[in-house]
Structure formats: C-alpha cells, structure tokens
C-alpha cells in the first residue's frame, strides 16, 4: 500500500448538516476508502437518502464539507457529480417509460445533446450491460414501460454501471430483486470494487448489507451512530444501533381502555399492491398503529381500507349501530364514518388555493347545505370556526387561503375535515410528518382526546416513538405482509424493528417481491 490511510480515501464528509422543517442530517462524518463497499443503514427518515442526494448534488448541505480524493467537492447538480465520477442508482427509478432500454441507458451516458445517436452501437452497448446484470434474454429495444418492476430496477442498475463512474451510490438496489438477482449484483459490485471502484450501498436488507459490504455506518436521527467493519457486526447489533439506546422510551402513562366492541374487520384483504392476504380487526375507541418500513405496504393498506384501491379479494367490514357495511369506495367509507388523512398533504390532501373553510367542509358538504343542495354560508362559517378553535388552528379566519397556513396548521385542518364529518374511524397516514414539535404534541393530545371520546384511530408512522407513545396496539407490516402484532407495555423498539425487517431477508420474501 502506498501512502497513509487518509490519502487513500475516495470520499469523505465532514460535519455535514441538513434541515428541511426539522434537522435531517446532523454533523455527519464519513470516510470511505478507495475500492471499498460501504453500507449505509438506518430507519426510515434517518437521513440515508438525503445524504446520497447531497453527494450527487440533488440537495445542498446547509453546512459541512465534502471531499473527493482529499479535494474539496461541492456539486451543484448531477452533471457536476457525474463529471467527478459519481453515479447514483436512486430509490425512485428514473427511467423514461416511453423510451427503450437502450435509449434510457444512452440518455445517461451521452455527453452532448446534439451528437447523432448511433443506434447499433447503443444497442450493442446496452445488450452487453443487460447481460452483465443478468437480463440475458431482454431485447435492448424493449420499451421500459413493458418491463416488470424487478426488470426496471436491473435496467436502472445497468444504467448506473454504464457511466463507468468510480464512485457508485446504490439506494435500495435490491428492493424488487429475487435472491439470485441480488446475488449477481453483489458479485458485480465485488468485481468492480476489486478494480478500484468505490461503492456506497444503502439498503434495508441487513443480510445483503452484511454479505456485500466491507464497512457499515448506521444512521439514526441524522447522526452517524457507528461505523465498523462488517466482520465484527451482526444483524442484531445493527438493529440495536438503529433503534437506539432509548429504545424503551415511553410517553406519559395513559389509561388503557377496556376492550370494547369490534369497529372494523379486515379479512384476507388483497389488492394489486398488497399481494399477501391481510387480516386484522380494530376495536371501537382504540388507537391501532401500523409500523413498517417505507414501501412495506402501510399506505396501500390504509388506501385499501378507505376504498381508494380496489380490492381483489377479501372483505372490509365496518360495524355500525345499525348493522355492518362493506367498504367499496371512498364515498361509501365517508358515509360509514371513516376518514383518511393522506401521507402526502400537498398531493392528495389540501386544496392549497382555496379557503380554510373550503378545505375543512369539502368532505361533508351535506352538513352545511339545505336539502336542495344549496350551501348555507352561516352554517359553514360557524362550524368551521368551532373546529378552528377546538383544534387551535392558527389562521386569520375561515376565509384564509390554505397555502398561507403553516404545515402544522394545514395538518390540523386535515383532521378538522373529518371531525366536521363526525367520522368515527380515522385512518391517519403519517399524521405528524413535516410539522413542528408543538403542533405534533397538539395533534397527539387531540388524538388521545378523540380516542377517549370513543373514536377509533388507525395510524401509520415511520417514527416508532410516535406509535409507542400513542397506540394501544401495533401491527407490523414487512414486505407487504402483516407479520406480527404487539400490545401496549409488551413491546420494545428493537422487537418492532426486527419484525419490520423480518420479511426482507428470507428467501420466500424475495420471490414474492419479484412476483409483484
């Protein structure tokens, strides 16, 4: 070996910080040697993907510095990082569906926009790369839109390999792959590493990480908690580091309600996005948590219960005073007293250019209209004003535009929308995402108050602490399967996390993922 350890570093980060609404990365230090495969693991929201985006110039760090081969490095965009020999295979696939495999790979590698495309050459090149990643039988002229998810992921990987970059970042590269496909990828990565390519490997599949990587860093709450060689690590150790020392954090004690009548029964539910039958039930006045990693089917489960995603098998029954109803559409759900607060407020929650009152009443317009369908302004103003006061929504009044409200107040008004409908069962997808601490506390307090008033809540959250402090019971999804259930006072963060990871490392889980 030539020189000391530091001169052999391909990549280093020193004191990198990044905040969106809340800090995502805090003082991240990372050193990766040439020819190493470096694993990056952590819970959802730990900051892995953000770090990757900063390295390739998709995001800017607030402070701290990056070094490439000991030279300061500050990418503005992805062409900067490509020029520096860095390529990323992102979690969100970036393929153009209406172009062929060969054209997609070409898009990524060609240097000038106006050079003539040499079709033959491009196809041969693509064909070679497809062979490499194991898509031997695929024609490079196939449109990407015709590929399965696993095939798309392999094309994405091929595209990354095509750049001949010397630092590869792979964000969840095997999430849709079968075991043999993943194994092949790992072999390719080891070969590349032997040739001096450095790899950053981000994955939820701890088994994969331990088998392919030389070193692993654990991120928790935006901090690097540990960096160690793989041969001294185990899955158990990683999970413990990811969950943290304060794994037994508990909110102020609350009265656990006596078991009441069943409110919702989900039986062998299957949708196109949830291939494995899911069954559970939920009691009136219970707060049921759904834990799981991103992509484990949490959102899909809530959407299916609400009737947004058509189910292909099984049943969803809601028990009401006057009988039992089967849920088939959002419209019917609302009539049966169900409300859904979606994960992505901007996308399918708020009407940002319209008034607060418009946003709150839109799901329950019949409550502010006379029998002919005419809206009664007085009723609207007074019922919205009441909700604003009850939920402490800070606004200039019912006519203020939604876009002018803070994230926390927007989120509260999403809750107000269903309180206006007097919903009895609230489905909440990440109810406190992107809101500040005070708003978060206020929302938690409100949810407990609602529960005590007999309203049932089903909450999805990536924050285990949130679920643990709120819920009476937690069910865990892993790889689109319901794996287990925990009761209050009978859980630990490490156990829940282990359950959330459980289906990602077994062989059968992989084949079912590829079937999807």
């Amino acid at each position: 070996m030539i020189g000391d350890t530091r001169s052999r570093l391909r990549f280093a980060a020193k004191g990198v910080c990044k905040s969106f609404a809340t800090p995502v990365l805090r003082d991240v230090d990372l050193e990766i040697s040439i020819g190493h495969i470096h694993g990056l693991v952590g819970e959802n929201g730990a900051g892995k993907s953000t770090l990757a985006k900063i390295i390739v110039g998709l995001e800017n760090a607030d402070s701290g510095s990056l070094y490439l081969d000991d030279q300061p490095y500050r990418p503005i965009n992805t062409s900067d990082s490509l020029g520096a020999g860095i390529a990323i295979c992102a979690q969100e696939l970036s393929l153009v569906a209406d172009l062929s495999i060969a054209e997609n790979i070409l898009l990524h590698t060609s240097t000038s926009s106006f050079t003539r495309i040499r079709r033959k050459h491009a196809e041969e090149n693509a064909s070679r790369l497809l062979d490499l990643v194991g898509l031997v039988r695929s024609d490079p002229r196939t449109l990407v839109s015709r590929l399965s998810l696993a095939e798309k992921q392999l094309v994405e990987i091929a595209k990354t390999l095509a750049t001949d970059a010397s630092l590869l970042i792979l964000d969840e590269p095997t999430s849709a792959l079968t075991a043999p496909q993943a194994e092949l990828l790992h072999r390719i990565l080891r070969d590349k590493a032997r040739d001096g390519v450095t790899v950053i490997y981000i994955s939820h599949r701890l088994g994969d990480v331990l088998s392919v990587c030389d070193r692993v860093s654990v991120l928790r709450d935006g901090e690097v908690r540990l960096t160690k060689d793989c041969n001294v690590l185990s899955e158990k150790l990683l999970i413990r580091e990811m969950a943290g020392e304060d794994a037994d954090f508990e909110a102020a004690p609350r009265s656990i309600k006596e078991a009441s009548s069943i409110h919702l029964t989900v039986e062998d539910l299957q949708t196109s996005k949830l291939p494995n039958p899911i069954s559970f039930d939920c009691r009136r006045g219970e707060i049921l948590g759904i834990a799981g990693l991103a992509g484990s089917g949490r959102t899909e489960l809530l959407n299916a219960i609400f009737g947004l995603d058509k189910r292909i098998a099984g049943s969803i029954k809601i028990h009401m005073d006057y009988g039992i109803a089967e849920i088939r559409s959002p419209w019917q759900s609302i009539r049966c007293g169900i409300g859904l607060v979606t994960e992505d407020r901007a996308k399918d929650g708020v009407f940002r250019d319209h008034a607060l009152a418009f946003n709150v009443t839109i799901a329950g317009l019949r409550r502010i209209s006379d029998p002919t369908g005419r809206l009664v302004r007085r009723k609207e103003a007074s019922s919205v004003a009441q909700l604003i006061e009850a939920l402490h929504i800070r606004s200039n009044g019912v006519d203020q535009k939604m876009r002018e409200l803070s994230g926390g107040n927007q989120q509260k008004s999403m809750l107000a929308r269903w309180l206006h409908c007097e919903s009895q069962l609230l489905l909440l997808d990440e109810p406190t995402r992107g809101v500040d601490v005070t708003a978060k506390l206020a929302i938690h307090t409100e949810l407990v108050r609602l529960r005590d008033a007999g309203i049932t809540v089903i909450a999805v959250s990536s924050e285990l602490e949130e679920l643990q402090s709120l819920c009476d019971r937690i069910i865990v999804l892993s790889n689109r399967k319901l794996v287990t259930e925990f009761h209050r006072n009978n859980w630990s963060q490490a156990e829940i996390l282990a359950a959330a990871f459980s289906e990602y490392d077994r062989e059968d889980a992989r084949s079912s993922a590829s079937a999807y």
Binding site: L308, W331, L340, D348, D353, F358, R417
Partner: protein, 314 residues
C-alpha cells in the same frame, strides 16, 4: 386619506375585469361619437346570446380541469337538427328546439363518457368530437343553409322598443343561475374541488369522473341551446355556424379570470369577458379598424388579460 386610497386600489384590483370593461366603454365613447347609442347596444345584445351560453359551459368545464373544443361544431349541429326537424320532418318549433338541445347534451355525454370514464385525454376527445359534430351538421342539413322563417326569429328579435329579446333574457338568466350553482351549491364546490386537486377531491368522497362527465354534458347542452339561439338570430340553420366559437368561449372565460389549469373561475367573469370581446369588435369596427387589425388587437387583449390576472394573483 391613505387608508381610503388603499381601499380604492384594493377594490379596483379585486374587480379588475369590471374596471377594464368600463375603461373600454369610456375609451370608445371618447373617440367615436356614435358609440354610445341604442344601435350599438342593440347590435351588441343581438350578438351576445349564443357566445354567452357557450362560454358558461366552457367556464364550468375549464374550472373542473377539462376543456371542450367541440362546442362550436355542436352549435352548428344543434341548429342543423332544429332546421332538419322543422323543414324535413315538419316538427313543431318547440319540439325541434328540444331535439336540438338534446343532441348537444348527447354529444356532451359522449365527451364525458370517453374522457372521464374511459380516461382518454379530453383535449383529443373533444377535438375529435369537433370534427364529428361538424360532419353531422353537414349531413343533417345536406350541407345547405336551411331557411326557417320568421317564427324562430321571434326568439331573437328584440321586443318593440326595449332592445331586449327572449334570447338575451334567457342567456342573462343562465349566467345568474350558473354563477349561483358554482358559488353556492354542493355541486359547484365539487366542480372546483375536482379542478383544483383531483386526488384530494377523491379522498374527500367526490367522484371526479362523475363531476367531469356532468360538466361536459352541461357544456354540450348549453352549446345545443347556443345552436337554437344562433338559428333564431340568423332565421336559418347554417351548418357553417360557430366555426371557431370554442376559441372565443375559451378567450372569454380566461379574460373573466378562469384558470386553464382548473380550480378557479367565474361565470359572471366569463360573461364580462364576452362583453369585452364583443364591445371591442363593435367599437373597433366603428372607428374604422379593418378586420385583420381587429384580430391582432383582440388577440393582444386576451394575452394582456392573462398577464393582468397573473399579476393580481401574486
């Protein structure tokens, strides 16, 4: 005093379109002595009805996030059906009129089913229907203008001395009715919600397909009525009627503050838009501006309206 000034400027800003309308009227009456006269008013009122009702439908469709390019042809088709009904089948006028309006609604229903339920791009569907309806209009009239006589004209001819016809009265009533529908009914809110954020509307229990389909049926129905008004105005069913009318309707809606992206707009605004476009036409003609120049100016006004609207929104 300063506060008073602020209030005035806010009122001017919020009612920019009315202010513009008044400014245009003042402008023309200053340069043309004959502008402020009963003749001008009567010309204006006679031109208005068909474009007004078509613009109402267009506004609703645009607010729901769609577009309806077929309306101009539907006007001709509806007129053609009325003409054929009276001249060939010998139907009484009211029955023929209903048949014409119903034809419009049917075309709207076809647009709605294909666009909303089969999820085909509504721009292309209604563009196709523009051709289909125009072709059908030629077929039912045998490509001839069908003369209908005085009876149908009584709908469009102003009542003695008043300058107001049944036609314009119906159009004005519909402006009020549909503005009310949009502002103050459950259905109006649903149209705005679907145009503003379709997936949020769906989560709120609104079926976006049903709303989109319904506004397209309304638009077709109103275009059918526009056909009746056109036939009454001309005293004949002209298969070439309404060519380019869809563009005038879109322009009127946009001048009136309706967003082409959906989720925002006003029926009264669209009516003022119709007034602005029509008054420009008449006024420019009176001061001796030639047809080509008129088109250049009208086009520029449309673009100016959008610029002002953008400036007001930010």
């Amino acid at each position: 005093m300063n506060e008073f000034g602020n209030r005035v400027s806010r009122i001017l800003e919020e009612n920019l379109i009315f202010v513009s309308l008044i400014a245009i009227v003042i402008f023309f009456s200053l340069i043309s002595e004959s502008f402020l006269s009963l003749t001008t008013l009567s010309t204006l009122l006679n031109q208005l009805p068909a474009l007004t009702v078509v613009s109402i439908g267009m506004t609703l469709v645009l607010i729901s996030g769609g577009i309806d390019l077929s309306v101009g042809s539907v006007v001709a088709l509806s007129a053609g059906v009325i003409g054929a009904g009276i001249a060939i089948l010998g139907l009484p006028l009211p029955l023929a009129a209903c048949l014409g309006i119903l034809t419009g609604a049917l075309i709207g229903f076809a647009n709605g089913s294909l666009g909303a339920y089969l999820r085909l791009p509504i721009f292309i569907v209604t563009l196709g229907m523009l051709e289909v309806s125009r072709g059908l209009a030629y077929l039912v009239t045998d490509s001839q203008t069908v003369y209908l006589g005085a009876k149908i004209q009584s709908f469009a001819i102003p009542w003695a001395g008043s300058g107001i016809s049944a036609s314009i009265l119906v159009a004005l009533t519909l402006v009020v009715v549909f503005e009310f529908l949009l502002r103050s009914t459950v259905f109006g809110r649903q149209i705005v919600a679907v145009g503003s954020n379709e997936s949020a509307a769906e989560v709120s229990g609104i079926d976006p397909r049903r709303v989109r389909c319904t506004v397209l049926v309304l638009s077709g129905l109103l275009a059918g009525l526009g056909g009746l008004m056109n036939a009454a105005y001309l005293g004949s069913a002209d298969p070439n009627a309404g060519i380019g009318l869809e563009l005038s309707a879109i322009a009127a809606a946009v001048i009136g503050g309706t967003s082409l992206m959906g989720g925002r707009g006003s029926v009264v605004g669209a009516f003022v838009g119709v007034l602005i476009v029509s008054i420009l036409q008449i006024g420019l003609a009176q001061i001796g501006i030639t047809e080509p120049t008129k088109r250049v100016i009208t086009g520029a006004v449309i673009i100016l309206a959008v610029i002002l609207d953008r400036w007001r929104a930010t």
